[in-house]
C-alpha cells in the first residue's frame, strides 16, 4: 500500500502528460522518437571480469560479469552457459522492497537473457573448454541503482558493455582433461551486439525510451531487441493496455531508427580493444 504514495500520479498531472503527448510533447522536453542521452562507463567493479554502468537520464544501472569453469547444461553439453540475473534493489527506488526476486526482477532478467541469447551476443560454443565436461559459465548480474524509467534498455546496454569489456583467463585443456589457466587474459567471444529499444504507448501516442513518470501513466510498452543487421531477436509487450498491429509496426520502425546510435557506443568499446580501467 505504501508504495501508492509514489506510484499514484495526481489526476491533473496525468491529464497534462496525456494531452502533451497528443501535441507531440513530453515531460522532459524530448520529441516522441528521441532517446535520452546515454553514458556508458566500463570497469566500474574491479573484482568482476567485466562491468559497466549506464546512465540514462537519472536511471543508472550497473552490470557485472563473472565467469567460472563448470559443467555444461545437459541439453547443450558442447556450449558455454549464460546466466542472467536481475534484482530491483530497494536502494534504487522507494517502490522496490527487499526480498527474494519477484516477477518484475525475473521479467527483466529474462528479456535481457533472450535478447543476448538469440542475437547471439556470446558465441557459447567457443566457451566449451572440454566439451561435455568443462565449460565457461558466464554470469551476468544486473543491478539498477537509480530509477527514472526504462530499465530494460539501460540494462541491455550495460550488459553488452560488461560483456564487451570482460576479460577471462586463457585456458587450455591437456589431453588427460586437466585444465591449465594462463596468466594471459582474453576477451569473451562476441558474435553480435544486440540493443534493446522500448516504446511506450500513452493514449494513441508512441514514445521511445519512457522516463519514470511516463511509465506510470502509459497504457503499455513494447521492447524490441535488435541485432546489427536489423533483425528482431526478442520482443516483450508489457503493461495493461494493448497495441494495434499497425502500432507495433510503427514502434518497430522507431526502434530500428534509434538502434544504430545506441549500438555505436558499444561498437566504440569493442574497437578500443575494450580497455578495462583499473
Amino acid at each position: 500500500m505504501s508504495e501508492r504514495v509514489y506510484t499514484v500520479v495526481p489526476a491533473p498531472r496525468r491529464e497534462a502528460i496525456r494531452s502533451m503527448a497528443k501535441r507531440g510533447e513530453r515531460v522532459d522536453g524530448r520529441k516522441p522518437e528521441e532517446f535520452r542521452e546515454v553514458k556508458l562507463e566500463v570497469g566500474v567493479a574491479g573484482n568482476a571480469d567485466g562491468s559497466a554502468r549506464v546512465t540514462l537520464g537519472h536511471t543508472k544501472v550497473i552490470v557485472g560479469v563473472k565467469a567460472s569453469l563448470g559443467q555444461p547444461f545437459p541439453d547443450a553439453p558442447n556450449a558455454g552457459v549464460q546466466i542472467v540475473h536481475a534484482e530491483l534493489i530497494p536502494l534504487a527506488s522507494p517502490i522496490f522492497e527487499p526480498g527474494p526476486p519477484d516477477e518484475n526482477d525475473v521479467e527483466l532478467a529474462r528479456i535481457i537473457d533472450r535478447g543476448l541469447r538469440s542475437a547471439p551476443a556470446l558465441k557459447l560454443e567457443d566457451l566449451a573448454v572440454v566439451p561435455g565436461k568443462q565449460v565457461w559459465r558466464v554470469f551476468i548480474d544486473i543491478y539498477p541503482i537509480d530509477h527514472d524509467g526504462n530499465f530494460i534498455d539501460a540494462s541491455g546496454l550495460a550488459a553488452m558493455g560488461a560483456l564487451l569489456s570482460a576479460k577471462i583467463p586463457k585456458v587450455t585443456a591437456a589431453p588427460d582433461g586437466t585444465i591449465v589457466k594462463a596468466e594471459e587474459k582474453v576477451p569473451l567471444p562476441i558474435a553480435d551486439i544486440p540493443v534493446f529499444v522500448t516504446i511506450a504507448k500513452i493514449g494513441d501516442v508512441l514514445v521511445v525510451d519512457p522516463c519514470y513518470e511516463e511509465e506510470l501513466v502509459m497504457d503499455a510498452r513494447i521492447t524490441f531487441a535488435l541485432t546489427r543487421d536489423n533483425h528482431v531477436c526478442a520482443i516483450q509487450k508489457g503493461g495493461r493496455g494493448s497495441f494495434t498491429p499497425e502500432e507495433i509496426e510503427r514502434a518497430l520502425e522507431m526502434a530500428l531508427n534509434v538502434a544504430p546510435r545506441l549500438r555505436s557506443a558499444l561498437e566504440n568499446l569493442r574497437q578500443a580493444g575494450a580497455p578495462q580501467s583499473a
Binding site: 500500500m1 505504501s2 501508492r4 504514495v5 499514484v8 500520479v9 495526481p10 489526476a11 491533473p12 498531472r13 496525468r14 497534462a16
Partner: protein, 232 residues
C-alpha cells in the same frame, strides 16, 4: 564567546556552531553553553549575536489548521486515504465532506477517486494518531484543474509571505489563482498553460534557496526574470 560558522556555510550534524552568549535558532543540540547542529543545515549569522540554522532537507509534519494539498491514494468504506507529502498519511472521513453524502450514495469513489488532488485542512494530528483532514470549509475540496508545483515544505511559507503579500502579488501580476499547501504542494490555476508555466517557474525558483531575507522583493525580481525569459 565565539561563533564557529559564517553565513552561507553548510554545517553537518554534530558540528559546533557557537559557544557562550550566542543565541541559536533552528535545530541544534546544546551541551552546556556549546551549541551543535542537529541536521544538515546552512548557517546564517545575524548581527545581534544570533545564528540561524536552516535545514537543507526537512519532511512535512502536519499541524492543526494547516492548508495542505493531498493526493487520494485509496478509497475505504467510510474514508479516503490521502497522501500529504509527509511520513504520516492522512485520513479524510466521510463525515468531513460537505454536503454529507446520503448513506445510499456511499460509493465514495464517485466523490473522490484515486489520484484526485484535494485542497484540505488538517483537523487534528499528534504523533500517536494519523492526521485527520476536512474539506468542509469554502474553497476546500477537489482541485479540478491547474498545475501542481512541488517545493520544499520548509520553504513554502515564502509563497504566502507576510499576511499573504507574496501570494497576492503573484496572483495579481501573473493573473493566476494559487493554492499554497503547507506540505510543499502549490497549485497554480491560470487562464492558459503559458500563464501557469510562468507562475510555476516563479514559485519553484522562490523556494530553491535555503534562505531568503525578503520574499516579496525576491518574488518581484523573479517575476522580472521570468517575464524576460518567456518573452525571449
Amino acid at each position: 564567546m565565539p561563533v564557529y560558522v559564517s553565513s552561507g556555510q553548510v554545517v553537518v550534524p554534530g558540528e559546533l556552531v557557537a559557544e557562550g552568549s550566542y543565541e541559536v535558532h533552528g535545530p541544534f543540540v546544546a551541551s552546556g553553553k556549546r551549541y551543535y547542529a542537529k541536521v544538515l543545515s546552512v548557517a546564517v549569522v545575524e548581527k545581534t549575536k544570533q545564528v540561524r540554522l536552516i535545514p537543507l532537507k526537512r519532511v512535512y509534519i502536519p499541524s492543526e489548521g494547516d492548508l495542505v494539498v493531498g493526493k487520494v491514494i485509496d478509497v475505504g468504506p467510510t474514508f479516503w486515504l490521502v497522501d500529504i507529502n509527509s511520513p504520516y498519511t492522512a485520513l479524510l472521513l466521510v463525515s468531513e465532506v460537505f454536503p454529507k453524502p446520503a448513506p445510499q450514495q456511499r460509493e465514495l469513489s464517485e466523490i473522490f477517486r484515486v489520484g484526485d488532488l484535494l485542497a484540505a485542512k488538517v483537523l487534528s494530528f499528534d504523533f500517536a494518531h494519523d492526521p485527520l483532514l476536512t474539506v468542509k470549509e469554502p474553497k476546500l475540496g477537489k482541485v479540478a484543474r491547474g498545475l501542481l508545483v512541488e517545493v520544499a515544505p520548509a520553504r513554502v511559507s515564502r509563497v504566502i509571505g507576510k499576511r499573504g503579500q507574496v501570494a497576492d502579488y503573484l496572483s495579481e501580476t501573473l493573473g493566476v489563482e494559487l493554492i499554497v499547501g503547507r506540505n510543499g504542494r502549490v497549485i497554480v490555476i491560470g487562464k492558459s498553460p503559458d500563464n501557469e508555466a510562468l507562475a510555476a517557474y516563479v514559485v519553484t525558483r522562490l523556494c530553491e534557496k535555503p534562505y531568503v531575507e525578503d520574499p516579496l522583493e525576491e518574488a518581484k525580481k523573479l517575476v522580472e526574470v521570468a517575464k524576460r525569459r518567456w518573452s525571449a
